[in-house]
Symmetry: C2
Subunit: 207 residues, 2 copies
């Protein structure tokens, strides 16, 4: 059965390393040989535990997205429990879980980059997988935004949410030109990014 000391089992080590290398070199650019070498496991272990590279990619997403979705929906519910919640509250419920997950575990920061790559890959297979496991969360948030922005018609709202999602994805993945100064921790760098993002997006949505 399970290893007696599964502090980091073969499967988990593969997932962690794959997450990092997919973030750095892309799905096509990172080979299974690179992954298994870095994880110090046998090459065949990937196909044994996951079946194929494609399935490994999906597992990398599933592992974190399930948790992220739960946190986002919980944060949204907490915000909506308060009758006079603001636009900033809902934005924060969407952004903060991604922010925190990007900092908790070792590979968290890598995952937001993997997520951003998934958008760049126009691969239909991957997009359908993400839509299936992610779509209902976006719909719930869209409904919450719609209630707070009744002056916007549906199409206008969708356009703006699309822009917000893009800015968020981009900012969280550190794609931009802003280099983190060496004297601020990665934690406070991301904290600042989230705050700026919430303010910016709130103003844009209300425009």
């Amino acid at each position: 059965m399970r290893n007696a000391t599964p502090s980091f089992s073969t499967k988990e080590r593969i997932l962690g390393v794959a997450e990092t290398l997919f973030a750095r070199h892309g799905f096509a650019g990172a080979s299974l040989r690179q992954v298994t070498a870095a994880a110090k496991v046998n090459l065949a272990a990937v196909n044994y535990h996951f079946g194929s590279k494609e399935s490994l990619i999906e597992e990398v997403f599933r592992r974190r997205l399930d948790e992220l979705n739960r946190h986002r929906l919980a944060a949204l519910a907490a915000v909506q429990a308060c009758a006079d919640h603001t636009l900033e509250d809902v934005l924060d419920a969407f952004i903060r879980p991604a922010l925190e997950q990007s900092m908790d575990s070792a590979g968290g920061a890598a995952f937001v980059r993997v997520l951003a790559r998934a958008y760049a890959e126009h691969d239909e297979r991957l997009r359908k997988f993400l839509s299936d496991n992610y779509g209902h969360v976006l719909r719930d948030f869209a409904a919450a935004f719609a209630r707070l922005l009744p002056q916007l018609d549906k199409e206008e709202l969708y356009w703006r949410l699309d822009i917000v999602a893009g800015a968020l994805t981009y900012a969280m993945a550190d794609f931009g030109m802003i280099k983190r100064k060496s004297d601020v921790s990665e934690r406070s760098h991301r904290e600042q990014a989230a705050q700026h993002l919430v303010r910016f997006a709130a103003a844009g949505l209300r425009a």
Copy 2:
């Protein structure tokens, strides 16, 4: 010398097809064999005309970035010639050239996606290349924004411009969930995207 009827020379056909396939499958995901097959040229033609795959990638960027940079700087100069130009004018000078280039030629739409991929690829070599050929344009625009937003300190401004760049990149590359309806042309779809983007970004920058 040159072909007598170089309507589309071998070199140009490779560049065009490479742009499309790099946008669709990424730099690592699109092989030279796919490119040369689609362009109906011999496999060896890439290494003959460009030297390597890496150099082909750079040429794909250079061909369009030179033009895009010229148009953006010209638009910025035209805007700044008017003494009472607005934030929206500067944003438009940045966004519209990208919008128009994405519609003029056959491969224009593909290029903005290639550009977005370049951000996802954290490849240091590619980022340096882009920074060398692109950095001064961003600096000029940043200065123009700074004059229009004197209440923002330098750091705050950079954060917001970073967010704007992300939203723009993402929106122009059609990464988002908004599907273009079949009854609106790609042209008017992008036109709408640009308008929404300018309004949203202006509000966010002024917040």
